[in-house]
Symmetry: C2
Amino acid sequence: MSNENTLSFDRIQYILSELPFFEDFSADELEKFSKNLSLRSFHENSCLFQEGDIGDYLFFVVTGQVEVKIQSHKSSQIVIAKFGPGSSIGEMSLLDDYPRSATIQVSEPSELLLLSRKRLKALCEENPATGLKFMEGLVKTLSYRLRQANGRFADIS
Amino acid sequence: MSNENTLSFDRIQYILSELPFFEDFSADELEKFSKNLSLRSFHENSCLFQEGDIGDYLFFVVTGQVEVKIQSHKSSQIVIAKFGPGSSIGEMSLLDDYPRSATIQVSEPSELLLLSRKRLKALCEENPATGLKFMEGLVKTLSYRLRQANGRFADIS
């Protein structure tokens, strides 16, 4: 392993330790994840993926901000959410085989941590207990989003 | 263990093997779950839980039907979904500590399989790989619901 990779893993492990999603993870568990995530920079207005794309990764916002847009019947696209540092995006396509439910655009220069389905699967096979903890985090995140979505629906009924 | 319990576990295991949620589970994994679920009958109009209640279990509809109702600003309560055999309800409160997001009422005589947070936790600790598979199922279920909720929002924007 090169020094450059080691430094990168150390930085990723530090970033993970600061993310709310990983707050209950041990140093050993964070190390396992740090080797399966990649850190990438994106320019403002970069489109990460479009509604309808086939997707197989999620990402965490480390710095910057992304916008979530969906197609509406009455207007071309509406921004339904903006996410900053600490947020995770793309959980839904990580396990199911449906297309992306929204378009994600970077609204200011951003650093993102990417986790692919393939890497997550390998990690879960090697460390079921760590994988389980990660899945519990996904369930909580999706539950929170669903509560928001249902609430929003009730508000406008 | 009494014969009655053994018969009950066998019946629960058979029911589980017929539920779409457990279609990828082995006989051994189904057996582990069957000992942690309880089968209960409910009369028509029984209220299982109300929006705002603190909840710590999910259930699968085996026979019958339940209605999901939420409080709207304009009307007293609106039915947002009806679920029949094979459906799971209550996933959100299984892991997070927020109150129930909806009221669930039994709309015809029903048999339901209940799984408590406590039993799931014990099962996950004893069998992380089986727990992981269950959590992946929850992620897929919640993703599906979120896709429906976001789609519904786009339709009426």
